[in-house]
Symmetry: C2
C-alpha cells in the first residue's frame, strides 16, 4: 500500500494520543504525513514520532485542510467543536470521546464486532468507551452463535483511563502512603491508592454513573439490538494499565463453556488464557502494550438458565482506545467510499 | 456482667487473632483470663493485650482445660485437630477457618442473620468466610422482606485476607515497582501490586475457586434456603484492608431501591452510605477498624425482573472475621445452655 495519507492526531500529547501515534507506526499505517494537534497549552511541544520528532501544532478551524483522516482523543468539548469542522472540510474523523457516540448520524465501531456500520458514516465515526470495547470483542462470537439477552458486568478499571494525571495521582499517593505520609487527591474524589472507587464519570438520576450507562447504551447501539439488557458497576482500582471485567451473560440458547471457549479461540482480536489450575487467566499486568482482548475463567453460571461467567482483560489505552481507532482507520482506507464525508449540522 | 470467662484465642499472633484480642477488650467482653495460643513457631512471643503483655503458649491437647470458650483463627489444619479436643473437654470453639463450616453438626453463624441456629451447636461453631459475612449482613433485611432468588457478586478483596504475609507482599511489591525494581511474588501466584488476580483459594473442577463456592454454599446454609442461587467471581485487589463487593440480586417480590434503603437503615450492623452525587458511597479506606457493614449505590437493575444492585464494603479482618467471632461469643454467654458442649467424633 502506498504511503499516501495525511493523518491528523488531535490530543497528541495525551496518554491515548501518544499511543495513537505509536499505533500508526507499529501497525505500519500508510501515512505520508502526520500532523500532531493539541490545545494552546501543549502547542509547540516536541514529541517523539517514528524515530524523529514532530512539533505539536495548536488546533484551529484551518487545521484539517489537506488532511485525509483525523483521529481525535482530546475530550468531548474539543470533539464537539472540531469534528464537524474537519468533516465538513472533507477530513473524516475517528473520535475517541463520548461526545458523538450516541448521535444517530455517527456509527459507533469496533472492527471485530460491527465493521459494516461504518458504511453509514457522514464524516464522524465514534470509538466506543474502553470498557465497552473489550467486553463486546469478547462477547461477539457468543452473541452471533446463541444470542445474548442480559449482561451483568463489574469492572476493575485502571487509572490510565483518566490519562497521565490519573497515573501520576496513583503513583504519588502510593509513594506517600508507603512512606507514612498523607495521600492528597485532586483527580479522583477520594484516595485511589490501596482503595476501590465505585465511581467513574458523573452520577445520573437513576443511580448509575455515566460510565455504567455508556456500557449499557453503547452495547445496544453496537449490537444494534434493543433487547440486550446490561447492568454495570464500574470501579476504579489502583492499577496503572489494563482494565479487568467480571462478566455474567444469559444467552438466548444454551452453550457450554467448552463450546464458547472454542468460538473465542477462533475469533479475531481475542486471546483465550484459560487454564486456571495452572494459574493461567487474564491479568492486567500481562495485557500492557498488547492489542488483544484476553478472555479466561470461562465457566457455567448455574444461578440462571443459560448462564455463562468469564473474566476479560485488555490494555484500555491500546485496544480500549488507540488501537481500536487505528483499526477503524485501516478499515476505511481499504474502501475509497469510506474516506468521503457528507456532514451537515 | 461479671468478668467470669476464661477465654482462649488460638492463632493469637496472626492478623485475625490479633484483632480478636483487640475486639475482646474494645467490646468489653467479660473475660477473667485470656490465654493466647499458637503453634510452636510463635510460642513464647510476647504480645500486647489490654494495656499489658501476655506470653503466647504453644497449643497442645491440654490447652483447653479450664477454658470456658475458645476462638480459633489458625487455619483449617489446626482447627481440624484442636476444635474437637476443645469441645470434648467442655470448651466450645468459635472457629474462623473453613474446616467445619459445611459440617452438618456445626452451625455457621452471623449474629445479625441467623442467631437462632446457634442452639443446634454441639461444641463447634463456625464463623463464615469474610466475603460471605458482609454480603449476607447487607442482604438479610431484603431477604426477610421480599425473598432473594439469585445473587451475582464480584469481589474486590484486600490482601489482609491472606494475613500479615499478604500485607507485606503488597507493600514490598509496591515499593519495588515504584522505584523501578522487580516485584517478587511468593504469597500470590502473580504480582498483586497494581494488578487484579481473579484467583482466591484453589480452583475446582467446575471452574470456580473454593472461595467462590464458599460464598454460594455458605449462603445456602446460613439462609437455610436451598433455592437461593449464587454465582461469584472473587478477585484479589491491591488494597491492604477492607473488602468491597459489587452485588446484584433478583428478589422474590418487587422492592424499590428506596424501600430497600429504608430497611437497611433500620437493620443492625449496617451503615448506609448512599449519596453518590455528593461522592458518598462505601469505601474500603473508610471501613478500616470499623465493625459495620457499609452499603451504598443501591439502585434498580432494569436488566431483569425485580433486580437490585448495590456496593457493599466491610473491614474483612474485623466484621469479616474477628468481630463476627466475638459477637458470636457475646450471644453465647447470654444463655448458659449455649456454653455447653456435646461433641462426639
Amino acid at each position: 500500500m502506498l504511503n499516501e495519507y495525511n493523518v491528523g492526531v488531535l490530543g497528541a500529547t495525551g496518554a491515548v494520543g501518544q499511543e495513537m501515534l505509536n499505533c500508526l507506526v507499529e501497525r505500519g499505517f500508510p501515512f505520508k504525513t502526520v500532523k500532531a494537534l493539541a490545545s494552546e497549552r501543549s502547542a509547540g511541544t516536541k514529541i517523539d514520532f517514528d524515530g524523529g520528532e514532530i512539533v505539536v501544532e495548536r488546533v484551529g478551524p484551518d487545521s484539517f485542510k489537506g488532511l485525509d483522516l483525523a483521529i481525535f482523543s482530546a475530550g468531548a468539548k474539543a470533539s464537539a467543536e472540531y469534528a464537524p469542522i474537519a468533516a465538513k472540510s472533507g477530513c473524516p474523523v475517528i473520535d475517541n470521546s463520548s461526545n458523538w457516540r450516541m448521535d444517530p448520524r455517527v456509527p459507533l465501531i469496533i472492527p471485530e464486532v460491527n465493521p459494516g456500520a461504518l458504511k453509514r458514516h457522514k464524516g464522524i465515526i465514534a470509538n466506543p468507551n474502553c470498557s465497552t470495547i473489550q467486553m463486546l470483542v469478547a462477547l461477539k462470537p457468543i452473541y452471533d452463535a446463541v444470542g445474548i439477552k442480559r449482561i451483568v458486568v463489574a469492572t476493575y478499571q485502571s487509572v490510565s483511563g483518566s490519562g497521565y494525571k490519573g497515573i501520576e495521582e496513583l503513583a504519588d499517593q502510593s509513594r506517600n502512603l508507603l512512606s507514612g505520609q498523607d495521600a492528597v487527591n485532586s483527580v479522583y474524589p477520594h484516595r485511589v491508592a490501596f482503595n476501590c472507587l465505585p465511581h467513574i464519570d458523573v452520577f445520573l438520576d437513576n443511580g448509575y454513573t455515566k460510565e455504567e450507562m455508556k456500557m449499557a447504551n453503547e452495547t445496544v447501539k453496537i449490537f444494534d439490538d434493543q433487547n440486550v439488557k446490561v447492568s454495570a458497576t464500574c470501579v476504579r482500582v489502583p492499577v496503572f494499565f489494563g482494565h479487568s471485567e467480571a462478566i455474567w451473560i444469559e444467552t438466548g440458547r444454551p452453550i457450554s463453556p467448552d463450546a464458547a471457549r472454542e468460538l473465542l479461540n477462533r475469533a479475531p482480536g481475542i486471546l483465550v488464557v484459560d487454564d486456571p489450575k495452572a494459574n493461567r487467566y487474564p491479568l492486567a499486568s500481562e495485557s500492557v502494550s498488547r492489542d488483544e482482548v484476553f478472555v479466561g475463567r470461562l465457566r457455567a453460571d448455574p444461578s440462571c438458565e443459560n448462564g455463562l461467567a468469564m473474566w476479560v482483560v485488555a490494555d484500555n489505552v491500546r485496544k480500549g482506545a488507540a488501537t481500536n481507532a487505528v483499526e477503524i482507520a485501516e478499515l476505511m482506507i481499504r474502501d475509497p467510499q469510506l474516506m468521503k464525508t457528507d456532514w451537515t449540522d
